[in-house]
Symmetry: C2
Subunit: 351 residues, 2 copies
C-alpha cells in the first residue's frame, strides 16, 4: 500500500515522540511492503511562531491531501495564563478538527497487566477494563455561537446538534459495538437538555437497525461516578463533545496506563492519530518522554487502513518492551530506564 | 431560637430518612433549647400523584415562608425511561431551585477513617480528603433558552451567565476558603467557552478583595482527572452548574463515604439541606436505608443558622455511631447491622 501521511509534530515533546512513531512505522512499512510518504507540516505554538497562526492554510492543504495525519502534541506554557488571547494553539486544534471534518474522536482506555499498580484505583476495580469512548468532536457547545451582550456583562455559548450529526457518530458507535461485546452506552443529560433529548431519541430510533446491540442510556453525572466505581462494566460509550472531553480524560487516569493511551479522530475521508497526553513542556528535549502512546496511535492508524496485522505487530512489540522493561523512566519504578529514542529504536528493531 | 423548617420528604426512602433527621433535630432542639416548627409539604412523584405537579405552589409557599427546607429525595422509576415526559419529578427540583433562589450548591466530600476501605481508590490517594464544591445552581445551560428548529431536526440549549451571577457564587467561595485553608480553585473551560472566560475574568478581578486566598484556575477536564488522582490536593472549588453536576458526583464516590454525604443549597434568604443520595426505590419501606447523610444535612442546617455547637453535636454522635458499629447494612460489612429507625433512635438518644 502507498500511504501519504501528514506529520504534525507540534510543540514540546511532540517532535521527539513523533520521531519514534515514524521510525516504528517505517519498520512496519519495510516488513509488510508498504510505502509511506511522510509530509511534515507546522502546527501549534510552533506554527504561531513561524507564520502567526496555529493551523496555517498550508498545513491544512497538506493534511487534506493526505491519507492520514499523525499528530504529536500542541500547547506551550506561555499561552496558558491567558485563555482569551487572540491567537492560541488550541484554536488551531479546533479549526483543524472542523476543517478536516473529524467528527468522531475514538478514545480507548485499556489496561496493561504490568501497569495495573500505577492506577489510583484498586486493582480489583480496574482489572479487565477495556472500554472505548466515541466523542463527537465537531459540534455542540464548542462550535455554537458564543459571545457577550450587555457591554460584556453577559456571556453566552450555544450548544447545537442536528439529528444527522448524532446519527453519523452513533453509527460509528453501533458498528464498533458490533466488533466488540455488542454493548453500547449513550451518555447524555436528557433530564435537562434538549440536545440530549435529541441524542437519546435518535439513538433509540437506530436501535432496530442493530438488533444485536444492547443499548443503555445513562446520565453524564452517573457515568462520571460509575467510571470510577466500575470502569470494567463499560464497553463502547458514545457522547457529545463537552461530555466527551470531561469523561475521556477522567477515564484515562483510571487504568494506570494513561501515558500509553492512543487516540484517533475520524472523519468521512481522513483520520488523525495522536497520543492523549499533552506537550509536556518540562520534558522537552530531555529524551525522557514516553513515545509508546504515539507509537500505539500509529498502530490505530494502520488498523484504520484495514491493516490489522501491521497494527498487531506494533502492539506486540510494545507489550514485549513492557514485559522486558524497555521503558522510559515514567514506567521504570526507579529501576533501569531507557531514553525516548532508545525505546523507539528497540521497538523498530523488534517489529 | 425559633425555627420554621419546611419538611419535604419526597419519594422512595425519602420519608424514612427524613423521619430520622427530624428525630435527631428534635433531640438537638431539646438539648439546646430551641423550638422547631416542622411544616411538611409535598414534592416529587408524591406531589405529581397528589396534585399533578412536582413542586406545587402550596409547597413553594410553605418553603418560601420558612427559615430552611429539609429535603429527602425525589425520583421514581416510572419516570426514568421517558426523559421527555411532560411532568417529571426533576422539573420540580429545578423549579424549586429557581423559585427559592438557591444559587449555591455546597457539596462537601470528606472521609471517615472507618470507611476508607470502601473507596474504589487506594487508601494513600484519599487519606485526608476534605474538599467542598460550590456549584452554581440557578444559571447556565440548565436554565437558558432551549428548544428545536428545522421541524425537530435541530436541538439547542443556550448557556448564559451574567457577571453578577458569577460574583455572588464566587463570593461564597472566597468566604468559605477564608474559613478553611485559603485555597480556591476556579473550574472552567476558558480555552473554549465564552461563559468560562467571563467566570475566569470575574474571579480574577475579585482576587484583590481576598489577598490571603490563593486562587488556581483549572480546566474542567483536568479537574476530572486530578479528582481521581489526588483528591486531597483540593480544598474549595467553585464552578458553573453543569460542570458542578458532573464533578460533584464524581467526587462523591472517591471518598468511600458517599452514602454519608450531606449537601446544602443556599440562596439569599433561605437554605435547603439534603443528602446527595437519591430516592433508592428498591429500598423503600424496608427500614434499611442509611439515614446518616440526611442527619448530617440537618447538621449543616444548624451550622448555617450559626448554631455551630448544635451541628457539632450531631457530627459527634454520627462519628460515635460509626465507631461503635451502630450502622445500617450498607456499612456493616456483613457484620451486625441496624435498621434505619434504630440508627435514628440511637443517634437521637446520644445527642
Ligand atoms: C485543548 C482543548 C480545546 C481540547 C478540547 O477540549 O477538545 C482538549 O482538551 C482535548 O480534549 O483534545
Ligand atoms: C436530577 C437532576 C436534574 C439534577 C441536576 O442535574 O442538577 C441532579 O443530577 C442533581 O445534581 O441534583
Amino acid at each position: 500500500m502507498k500511504l501519504n501521511i501528514a506529520l504534525l509534530a507540534g510543540d514540546g515533546i511532540g517532535p521527539e515522540v513523533i520521531d519514534q512513531a515514524v521510525k516504528v512505522s517505517d519498520a512496519i512499512a519495510k516488513k509488510f511492503n508498504h510505502k509511506i510518504n511522510w509530509k511534515p507540516a507546522l502546527t501549534g505554538a510552533a506554527a504561531i511562531d513561524a507564520v502567526g497562526e496555529p493551523y496555517p492554510d498550508e498545513t491544512h492543504k497538506i493534511c487534506a491531501s493526505s491519507d492520514a495525519v499523525l499528530f504529536g502534541a500542541i500547547g506551550h506554557p506561555r499561552f496558558d495564563n491567558d485563555p482569551s488571547a487572540k491567537v492560541r494553539p488550541e484554536q488551531g486544534l479546533l479549526k483543524m478538527r472542523k476543517k478536516l471534518g473529524l467528527f468522531a474522536n475514538v478514545r480507548p482506555t485499556f489496561t496493561f497487566s504490568s501497569l495495573l499498580d500505577k492506577s489510583p484505583l484498586k486493582r480489583e476495580r480496574i482489572e479487565g477494563t477495556d472500554l472505548v469512548f466515541l466523542r463527537e468532536l465537531t459540534g455542540g457547545i464548542y462550535f455554537g455561537e458564543k459571545g457577550r451582550r450587555d457591554e460584556g456583562e453577559t456571556a453566552f455559548d450555544n450548544c447545537v446538534y442536528t439529528r444527522a450529526e448524532v446519527q453519523r457518530l452513533a453509527k460509528k458507535g453501533f458498528e464498533l459495538a458490533m466488533t466488540r461485546s455488542k454493548k453500547l452506552c449513550c451518555v447524555d443529560k436528557a433530564n435537562v437538555l434538549e440536545t440530549s433529548r435529541l441524542w437519546r431519541e435518535t439513538v433509540q430510533a437506530m436501535e432496530k437497525e442493530y438488533p444485536e446491540v444492547v443499548v443503555s442510556y445513562e446520565f453524564v453525572d452517573a457515568v462520571a461516578m460509575r467510571l470510577v466505581q466500575w470502569p470494567n462494566s463499560y464497553d463502547v460509550l458514545i457522547t457529545e463533545n463537552l461530555f466527551g472531553d470531561i469523561l475521556t480524560d477522567e477515564a484515562s487516569v483510571i487504568s494506570g496506563s494513561m501515558g500509553l493511551m492512543p487516540s484517533a479522530s475520524l472523519g468521512a475521508d481522513i483520520g488523525l492519530f495522536e497520543p492523549i497526553h499533552g506537550s509536556y513542556p518540562q520534558a522537552t528535549g530531555l529524551n525522557i518522554a514516553n513515545p509508546m502512546a504515539t507509537i500505539l496511535s500509529a498502530a490505530m492508524m494502520f488498523e484504520n487502513f484495514g491493516l490489522q496485522k501491521e497494527g498487531k505487530a506494533i502492539r506486540d512489540a510494545v507489550n514485549n518492551a513492557l514485559n522486558k522493561g524497555i521503558v522510559t523512566e515514567d514506567l521504570a519504578d526507579g529501576g533501569k530506564s531507557y531514553g525516548t529514542k532508545e525505546v523507539g529504536d528497540w521497538l523498530a528493531e523488534h517489529i
